[in-house]
Amino acid sequence: MSRTLHAEWTKLRTAGGTGWLRLAVVVLTAAVGAATAASVTCHVAGGCGQDPAELSLTGVYLGQAVVAIIAVLAISGEYGAEMIRLTFAAMPRRFSVLAAKAAVVTGLVLVAGTVASAGSVLAGQLILPGHGLAGPPLSLGNGADLRAALGSVLYLALIGLLALGVATTVRNSAAAIGIVLGLLFLFPLLTATVSAGAWRRHLEQIAPMTAGLDVQATANIRALPLTPWQGLGVLAAWATGTLLLAGLTLQLRDA
């Protein structure tokens, strides 16, 4: 397994554009978070119910798209260049190859995600004071804020796994990214047009992005359809499901 891991790490590290994409995760996440924090205003005494942690981490909406690209290219790049046959000739245990890819993608996203999340929180701490938000200032010493920041890192890693699973099943990179981003973004758009409360709640509970981002909530948690960690659990279930499907198709299909 360690040789498989080493091979996959070399491929991911040296693939064209990985460095730029890692940088894009960090810069986009932190920049959008900072811009959102800067645009917040509240002139009502006692605050307007805004969530400082969630606002600062808004950039995850964009960062996850870049994470999805990294994960999709990790597998569909091989299919595009037909290197996948060479890979499976050298390492015939296909499930191990998928596991190794999942491990290196997760490692890479965890590092980039940690920098992105820390950068967003730092930007929020610098920008948000003076914008009229009530409650204690954003601080990683606070349990809820720390959970939001760490949860966002795990969220990005799970998005990477979800995208890897979809891309392994679909193979074509453009179609894979379309499906992944469709899964993430179309659920909340559908939710926004459903007026019936029960249906809306169910949709929010099963949508990978909406449920997963519950982990960022630090205010008004009781109004959420799931607790923050349950929400991240829903995303983990999606990622596990697509990876299992990917493993199954890898075993059953010709490369």
Partner: protein, 446 residues
Amino acid sequence: MHRALAGNGSITVRVTSLTGLYSSSGGGESATGGSLAQNPTVGWTPDVEPWSKAGIIIKASTKPGSAYAAMMVTGSHGVRMQWNYTGDIAGLGGAPTTASPRWLRLVRHGGTIIGYDSADGTSWTKVGTVTLTGLSATAQAGLFATSPAHNMVTSQSAIGSSGTGVSTQDTGTFDHLSLGGTWPGGAWTGADVGDTNGPSGLDRFRRIGAGFAVSGNGDIAPVVAGTMGAGTQIEYAISPGSFAAVIAAGVLGALFITAEYRRGLIRLTLTASPRRGRVLAAKAIVIGAVTLAAGITGIAIALPVGLAKLRDEGNQILPVTALTELRVIAGAAALIAVAAVLALAVGAVLRRGALAVTVVIVGIVVPYLLAITALPAGAADWVLRITPAAAIAIEQSVPAYPQVTAAYTPMYGYYPLAPWTGFAVLCAWTVAALTLAAFLLYRRDA
């Protein structure tokens, strides 16, 4: 307060003050007028809602929805003449006081009603003339006061909006009430018209010496969408589906060029037709036409199906003209087609399918999603002015009425740009991307 009056005539009154109260208890998440009625009398602070209205009205009947014309003073928009919910003309500016009162007059000639205002009761200025259909010989005339719920969108987040609706009420003080023409004097009746959600113990109609004080809340206005409104726009029936189609069109458009690069087919293509700009133009026309045709078909089928489903769920669909409905269908389809062309152009620039699809989705879908969920209202408006997502404005079917208080934010389907202007923003991005693609196509080796 009102009374039935037959034939032609006029009603004149002097307004000496308009005062108001805000409920300081506020509302909860997405409060509606109904839920506010549960704590009726606690905590009111004096303040006048800018669109509080008090004045005189001639109305076909006291039923909500019947034709009317009215002259009124408002909280901070001066004297207005309004009719049939959406009509609105400005008269004298300023608020009425005892020292500087406002005189209002409505004159009926058959189906025509003329509104006048005056600062002194002797020199009158005509504000407007309107023709009402469905006004029978005997109409209701009288004094009215309304005060809409004051709407504050305080924040939005991924879990929903916490727009706060504050119930308000107002009181107009009137004197010198007189009737002219064939309308005789007589007794006035006080009545609540429509749903009310104010303090139940309020005296709605009191005599003060020779004058009257009339209090009220709510609004005489068209139904709008949003926290304070009750309507659903037709585009809600197609909105999620049209975004799914935008994503699919983005994948198709990007693959249309990146697949050629991946397989090396592009070299053959450019050898066969060496004028590269023409190749790009031909590709753009083909992918645009195909997705436009598919989009129109899909949306023309989805709209009636979606509307029927929304009606089944008990939503009140805001009515639109056939022309507007046509614009929504054609516009949503054009949005899909231009998204495909944008993806083609970005694909020609980046040559990587996954990157091109992501750029298009992040350009069109994500800004819209952020605008209706995570972003504060001001930032949401800016995002929908400058990003390609501005094109969503093409699907807005009902206008924002400046004279009606409501939450006119992207979350409730009101966008900062006019429909075609918003669409033009997407087209500008697409033209820019196509130009860059053509330039790079000539500059680079295939």
